[in-house]
Amino acid sequence: MFEDLGDRLDKAMSKIKGYGSITEDNISDVVREVRLALLEADVNYKVVKEFTNKVKEKALGEEVKKSLKPDEVFLKILKDELLELLGTEKVEIETKYNPTLLMLVGLQGSGKTTTIGKLANLLRKKYNKKPLIVACDIYRPAAIEQLKTIGKSLGIEVFEEGKKNPVEIVNDAVDYAKENGYNYLLVDTAGRLQIDEDLMQELININESVKMHEILLVLDSMIGQDAINVITGFNEKLPLTGVILTKMDGDTRGGVAISARYLTNVPIKFVGTSEKLDGIEEFDSERMVGRILGMGDMMGLIEKAESVMNEEDAEESLKKMKKGKYDLEDFLKQFKTIKKLGSLEGLLKMIPGAKKMGLTNVQIDPKQVARIEAIVLSMTPSERKNPDIIKASRKERIAKGSGTSVQEVNKLLKQFEESKKMMKMMSNGNFKMPM
């Protein structure tokens, strides 16, 4: 929806190109563009103001080396500062206590209940924990039901005592965990406004009663300027140990990541990336910077693809990608991978420049993957390796063999050409941040 910062910067940057150094004068337009872009990404106004001033100060008078243009220097400073702010060190989730106690807090609708399912699943899979989910949202109708359904689909036990006082529920859950060998407790709490004193006191009481090891603030990544009040409100009342950003599979820039770090200095630990129960990823500041600035999310794409593709496949694709050799077999493999990955639109968004190439409008029906598979499998091996030889009569044969039409075969070949072009660009390193 927003013009990429990249495009907008291009316009502003054209003014400082050619200067030997960065000065107050030649940089003001660029700073304004950066400011607006950050505001459009919903970074808090105060944070933006302080942050852009800092970047400006650093950039001013910076000697511009011959090999670099002033705009490139500025972008580099901008990116470095953003990275520093978001933190480059990964802070892992606390797991060393037995049982480790974790509690999720946040506003209504931020996604706590779904996130708790995802976290429990991750703790079991990645950290070999035996998790117990504790239902403490005694207010919202059917919140306990929701948690139980999630628990059931994961095969993870949910501890609930109906609408009892949450402090008692948590205490009973700790006893239950100790008796039954659970070593990780995840406490779901009701959504609340940070200004609701009674409900905030409830969280304080829970924490004073059992001493949580992790208190994570769940934030909807689409939140606007009010984020500052939410974040500081929760942070003042509770010793937060981290933040989780949810609904990052939407098209939000997620500037709240910057506000959250700036205001609390607690690490962002995870991001929610789909409605499915494995839709959680560790936070990566590098990728986040790219996203906020609208520079694509190549690293995310690669990581996600890797976790689905088996390693051999991945390595081979990577090699071929680098060599620029890429045939219909790879194309098919990628399609099948995509089928496993879920939302294709989401994936395409992560490719830098995809928007420029008009790729974000691509809509692929899962059924289409089956059709593509049929078409490719109806080709001879030499046709797959060298699609250029596929002319009219071959097309007809392939269409018949796959139960499709010549038009569909043509369409597939065109798609293949496009994706080949894209692969070429990637292998040329054009997907890196422009600097």
Binding site: N44, Y45, G224, K247, D251, E275
Partner: protein, 329 residues
């Protein structure tokens, strides 16, 4: 021509804006946070500056952006305001303040007659479809609206069209139990269109006055889920011509710039007839009302000013502006 600000002042004085004291209090209290953020800051801005100058405008821009009015809308607004201030040679911040309220109102009204009334069917059940991204408060809004309609003596039917989210069906059913209202449900993970069909059918055959349909939360960039909405619309329309009579987009008032993207995308896919803005009591912002009007041209029909069913209010721009600028009027 008399500006909006002076007109509103006059109306308030002659007690034409609010039906009763209770309604006035609700708006006043529900918008308290926003007012504190915005109106109080505007007042202190006016104390700080004796004369309107460049710094004054920069501070004002900051105020507007912080109210989530939207960067694009604010930039345009500021250009217009500065231009008007120059032309009318306004230097006194107090005078400019009236101009600001005027211009904000103009953004919303924009020379159009706004329809914020629900389009009830002339005969047969009125069907209202509620859509929106995850976690905005669709189900709660439906419960509130159901209560309102029931209190008016109408026969209300709820349809649990969110077959996807765990616990969603139970949530609506529990509301139905609490309010004594019938709920049509289907199996979890079943095709929502089939539940919707069942609901509309029951609504028509058993002569309900109003059918409120819940749908699963969907992020606006998920094409398949958005297409599903289209299918539901067709199912409803095939059964009852001209239905759904309303498709309301439910938006969380604390949403930032993404709210505009939500409104745009949903509007592209379905015929959104209005917006329900929820959780307005919780946010100090709510400027998104203006941004959406300006950029997407959709009217706000209801606002949520609290957690109780009676806290869902028909949106009225005059009352809203009063809630925001009470101290100045």
């Amino acid at each position: 021509m008399m500006g909006f600000f002076s007109k509103l002042k006059e109306k308030i004085a002659s007690k034409k804006v609010f039906n009763d004291k209770k309604e006035e209090e609700k708006y006043s209290k529900g918008l308290e946070k926003t007012r504190k953020e915005f109106s109080d800051k505007l007042n202190s801005l006016n104390k700080k500056y004796k004369k309107v100058n460049q710094e004054y405008f920069e501070d004002l821009e900051e105020l507007l952006i912080m109210a989530d009015i939207g960067v694009g809308t604010v930039v345009k607004f500021m250009e217009k305001l500065i231009d008007r201030a120059r032309k009318e040679k306004i230097e006194n911040p107090e005078v400019l303040k009236e101009l600001i309220v005027d211009e904000l109102f103009i953004i919303y009204v924009n020379d159009e007659i706004l329809v914020n009334k629900i389009n009830y069917a002339e005969e047969g059940p009125t069907v209202i479809l509620f859509v929106g991204v995850n976690g905005v408060g669709k189900t709660t809004t439906i419960a509130k609206m159901a209560k309102k309609e029931k209190d008016l003596g109408k026969k209300v039917l709820l349809v649990a069209g969110d077959t996807f989210r765990a616990g969603a069906i139970e949530q609506l059913s529990e509301w139905g139990d609490r309010l004594g209202i019938d709920v049509v449900t289907g199996e979890e993970n079943s095709d929502p269109s089939s539940v919707v069909y069942k609901g509309v059918e029951k609504g028509k055959n058993e002569s309900y006055d109003i059918v409120l349909i819940d749908t699963a939360g969907r992020l606006q960039n998920k094409v398949n889920l958005m297409n599903e909405l289209e299918k539901m619309n067709r199912v409803i329309g095939n059964f009852i011509p001209n239905a759904p009579h309303e498709t309301l987009l439910v938006l969380d008032a604390s949403t930032g710039q993404n709210g505009i993207s939500q409104a745009k995308s949903f509007k592209e896919i379905t015929n959104i007839t209005g917006i329900v803005l929820t959780k307005l009591d919780g946010t100090a912002k709510g400027g998104i009302v203006l941004a959406i009007k300006e950029e997407v041209n959709l009217p706000v029909k209801y606002i949520g000013l609290g957690e109780k069913p009676e806290d869902l209010e028909v949106f009225d721009i005059e009352k809203y502006i009063y809630g925001l600028f009470k101290e100045m009027i």
